[in-house]
Symmetry: C2
Subunit: 685 residues, 2 copies
């Protein structure tokens, strides 16, 4: 590397490259296609471009102080970055300059292209029966005739009024008890977990209490703040899984743990820190926004933060301690890593998890800062590669109560499949990899503004028209500079591939058709790999041609092949050749073009209207378990009553997989698609 250049890597996107020394981090991010928020035009006055310098920030680590990779701290940064944040390595992207190799983490709130696909909650039918319930009691004061202790006094009344028997109490709640009782004349509201344990005592009569259902995905963590009394979802908070820096997928994380002493604890600590951030965000969102003002009086501190409530709006003003319950779901590896259970054997045949059953763990034992006596309910795992997230999907969709044979596909960073009905359910997982989420694709990105989500390619001219997220008008109705195209998101990738195939640019085997003469088709001068230009540099916000490469096509083929082969082998196991319903969970399911998915052979033949998207069903399952304790038992039941099929040891797997990589899968199965694609392509050899 030249003396005047430095390598900069941005996380969590992983974008990296050489940049000239001396430019700001925001300038570097622009060169590398990472968007950092900046409202003030990099004048160091809006404070939106906070980033965390993770490596190379020797101010933080106090080593090699003679050689720093980032420019010195500026006084202006102190307006937006607290001493504590500074300690953690936070800098303003417009102030800090590259002076050597750097690893920079861009926090969710500083990303300009915020994720559009919020993991919004669906309306799901849940019977109100939360694990934590409120009970209100009024007591007689102690006297010489009845000097019964505080706890027994409360327990006696709870039994008398509500029939709660054999109650116990957590030590932290017990510590609150004497003061709570005496604060409001022996009238208290008691939070009871599973009608078994007192976990909080508040003076007087209180009506509401809260919980958070959290879906810990390999890439994204989504939390739903719920009122446990009304079941209302008050807020949805999501963040990147902070473990992404250790590797994109499950196997990479497991490998990190195996090759780095202390790696398991480090990854666990990171995700716990993320969850604490999530709780903090959820709680903060119930307070009025704050504004920094100059203090009117001559005081020592010249500035202070004051609240700016919206007119007529009421704020719940929750504190961390108001969160009385948390449910957690995730795939088996995420589950294990979070709990610091060795995930190594989950990655080794025959893939036994450390535990299937759900766990009730004190939040404090995990380092989660909520009501100190509260439990976290961790959903059970089905198998090594079908985890608590899939159990969440199942208790939401309840295929075990259905006559119809359903195929439920949850495409996250891994594919999880369930097939069956009330008579029998089987599950399996397939290594789709993260291609459907836009990862491992050269210009792949999350579903955020600037991402190509729909595309059309003219079969004759090979000219391209497309639409990006955040802009209504298609390319053909826009001036190039209006597009600000940045990359391709997961659902767009499928569209691209289907169009490339329909236009004859790629063949059934996925290879680029060498005969074409389009000026968009070329070989990359550096890698010598074939690639096809989707958007020219002038249309992009990153100043580069946005292309899809042969390698990208192969990644998608591998993903779809794994998924299709998985579905196929499961159907053979159940002895069926058609399913009644295909349900697609996850963000991918919400945005995928079902028709294109069928053309591409993502999953077996099914009538178009029988394919439905069920959104973040894993998250919905966590929410169901939060609001209804019977769902917790149901989760344990179903986790042990779904038969897990290890696809890779099925005899025909390799053959099915190879066949399924073709586009579309097999011509005879797609006869009903005639008309949708040009006949010469469908029957090409």
């Amino acid at each position: 590397m030249g003396k005047d250049k430095a390598m900069v890597i941005f996380q969590p996107s992983g974008r990296r490259g050489e940049v000239p020394k001396g430019i700001t981090l925001i300038e570097a991010s622009r060169l590398l296609g990472v968007d950092i928020e900046s409202l003030c035009g990099e004048k160091k006055v809006c404070g939106k471009c906070k980033v965390r310098v993770e490596e190379g920030n020797f101010e933080k680590f106090h080593v090699h102080s003679s050689k720093t990779h980032v420019s010195p701290w500026l006084e202006e940064e102190g307006k937006f970055i607290s001493p504590q944040e500074r300690e953690q390595g936070l800098r303003l992207g417009c102030a800090a300059k590259v002076e050597g190799d750097l690893l920079v983490f861009v926090p969710e709130e500083s990303r300009a292209g915020k994720q559009v696909v919020s993991k919004a909650p669906r309306d799901i039918h849940i019977k109100h029966d939360p694990a934590v319930k409120l009970y209100h009691v009024k007591l007689e004061k102690p006297s010489f005739e009845d000097p019964t202790g505080d706890f027994e006094r409360v327990a006696r009344e709870l039994e008398k009024s509500y029939g709660l028997k054999n109650l116990r109490i957590d030590l932290h709640a017990l510590r609150q008890l004497p003061e709570a009782l005496r604060q409001a004349e022996w009238e208290v509201t008691v939070s009871v977990w599973m009608d078994r344990e007192i976990i909080r005592v508040r003076p007087g009569k209180v009506k509401d209490h809260y919980g958070i259902a959290i879906d810990v995905g390999t890439t994204t963590i989504a939390g739903y703040l719920c009122n446990l009394q009304t079941m209302e979802v008050i807020d949805t908070i999501s963040l990147m899984n902070p473990q992404c820096k250790y590797g994109e997928d499950v196997m990479a994380r497991i490998t990190y743990q195996m090759t780095n002493p202390g790696g398991l604890k480090r990854m666990s600590d990171d995700v716990i820190e993320g969850l604490n951030w999530l709780v903090e965000e959820a709680v903060k969102g119930t307070h009025p926004p704050k504004k920094k003002v100059k203090a009117s009086e001559e005081k020592e501190k010249k500035e202070e933060w004051i609240e700016e409530p919206e007119k007529g709006k009421e704020y719940l003003r929750l504190a961390r301690e108001d969160i009385e319950d948390i449910t957690l779901g995730g795939n088996t590896a995420m589950h294990h890593i979070l709990l610091q259970l060795n995930p190594e054997y989950v990655g080794l045949a025959p893939f036994p998890p450390v535990i299937h059953h759900s766990l009730d763990i004190k939040a404090r034992d995990l380092g989660l800062r909520i009501n100190p006596s509260s439990y976290v309910f961790v959903l059970p795992n089905e198998a090594g590669f079908v985890g608590a997230d899939n159990v969440g999907v199942l208790i939401t969709e309840e295929p075990y109560k259905s006559d119809e044979t359903q195929l439920i596909i949850d495409i996250g960073t891994n594919g999880e499949l369930v097939l069956g009905n009330k008579d029998k359910l089987i599950s399996s997982s397939c290594a789709t990899g993260p291609a459907f989420e836009g990862a491992q694709i050269q210009f792949g990105m999350r579903a955020a503004p600037g991402a190509i989500e729909r595309i059309k390619i003219d079969p004759d001219t090979h000219e391209v028209d497309y639409k990006v997220i955040g802009r209504e008008a298609w390319r053909s109705y826009s001036r190039p500079e209006e597009m600000k195209t940045k990359g391709i998101c997961g659902s767009g990738i499928l569209d691209v591939l289907a169009e490339l195939y329909r236009a004859g640019i790629i063949t059934k085997t996925g290879a680029f058709n060498k005969k074409q003469k389009s000026k968009r088709f070329r070989r990359n001068p550096e890698t010598n790999q074939p690639e096809f230009v989707l958007a020219w540099a002038e249309e992009s916000s990153i100043g580069k041609d946005i292309v899809i490469t042969q390698k990208d096509v192969r990644q998608i083929q591998l993903a779809k092949g794994a998924l299709y082969a998985g579905c196929k082998l499961m159907m053979r196991r159940l002895g069926i050749d058609k399913v009644d319903k295909v349900k697609i969970a996850g963000a991918f399911g919400t945005h995928v073009d079902r028709e294109k998915a069928l053309i591409m052979g993502l999953f077996p033949d099914c009538e178009l209207e029988k394919i439905i998207s069920i959104g973040n069903a894993a998250g919905d399952g966590c929410r169901a378990a939060l609001l209804n304790r019977e769902k917790r038992d149901e989760a344990n039941w179903v986790s042990r009553n779904v038969e897990y099929i290890e696809l890779t040891v099925e005899g025909d797997f390799q053959k099915e997989f190879m066949g399924a990589m073709h586009i579309p899968h097999m011509k005879d199965e797609f006869s009903h698609l005639e008309g949708l694609v040009s006949p010469e392509i469908l029957h090409e050899n």
Copy 2:
């Protein structure tokens, strides 16, 4: 105070006084009557005189470093005091010199007069049924046919082999599970708590496991290390309650909490630190002693510790993690302070405790470092002033199973009384104060070498003969300098008072008889208080006359009056005027002269042979609960089925109390004692 003098306070004894600046801490201790161990004659080579400088050690607190109250650290101290201990303020008493006011804590192991009254365990009959049990299982390895997870694999086998159903597992034990299973070819020994929760998994077949029963007294903490399999008591460890520095008795501790912000947590932290020390001592005692040697090779560290096992002796070599269960008992205030429950209301009428019921608390939640998944069982409380310690006494003595009417007296720093039989049991407490333990008596001390334990006073000459602990020969058979008398212990005090009374030196009302002409009787020149010399300075090791003052006599009268009045009122409640048996628990009971106790009117009339000492029955109760889980249920049952009588609100309390302060109580009740005491004294008005 003079410029050349400084105030030094030694803890836990509380001895204090001015000493010349510049003398060593050992020299100061000698002047103030505190004995610090020193084998080498203060040559800084034995390391036995370690003390902790608690206040005034500004090296430790890094404040006002310009002014220190203790002389600088000497290199020689480093041989015996690790950098970590130094950080805690440890110094050698023979090296550190007084340069200003100091508070010095003398650890148990550095006290020259080690407590003789060990709280040794009695043989009590306990059915073997510990809360934590070991189960050994051999498992099949996971396979594609049976990829069941680790926990379910173990649980399934435990159900099959031992009938254990619905087992859960603690997170920490779960974290050990995958490695433990794979380390010895899927053969493990599992520790299960209450047949409900797996708390430890060890590879292979292991036979033994251990627990500690701990009696947390106001003054002394005693722990019994037990083999949970064989029930054998392996070791008894005792220490002063580190809270003594906040006050001698229960009310002083409660007051400290009320007047010092953070005081509750501080006291709790101190006792937890004490318990961790106790565990460490228990564990260390199972290893061979270590000796410091010079390393033979030329190495960087020139000295190292090597083990010196006794020939033919086997050592268990336990680690903290081998302690799988702990039971704790203590009076209600000690219980509350340890658990950080506000003890304020325990000290305010009608004295309701925060909780009666027993508690199962994870050791880690209390900061106790043992097997990380283990629970601590905290015995239940009867009432505000009759705590878990008394419950321990009851489940050991089982008066609720007896036909005989028993009076059980536990004299610690407070007096706890139980009266009744299988039909009815009542309890109460009386504020005896710590006089019977030697506290609040000018020359009072613990039952340690040099303490007067027996005494005889000639009624004619008023000459004194006595015996001290640690020396067989009485004073009359010794040269004065051989006695090395230091003070009076609890049981000795009663002896002294009875003799003073018998010899006519004090009257029935407790006042010194002014008519006597003994040269031992005098008024203290400073306080002008009457006092009687028990031992002259030449017989003492502290260079002072050892006296008993009028104030001392009053303290003992108050204590015995409270005790007697309590017994009396309880008998009236039950409508009886005689009890079948008097049981005296505690160290006091072990050493008290029953005859003298009757003369003095400590408790109601009873035949001499019906008075029995039951030792540290509170500690025995903790041991019973450790080794038999049914005793835990029994403890909860009895704690709620003993009727607590608040004596101070009984109508006649004041009258009974006043009357009971006389020596002896009432002449008509002591008619059978005629002959034991001279008639003129018994019938004195």
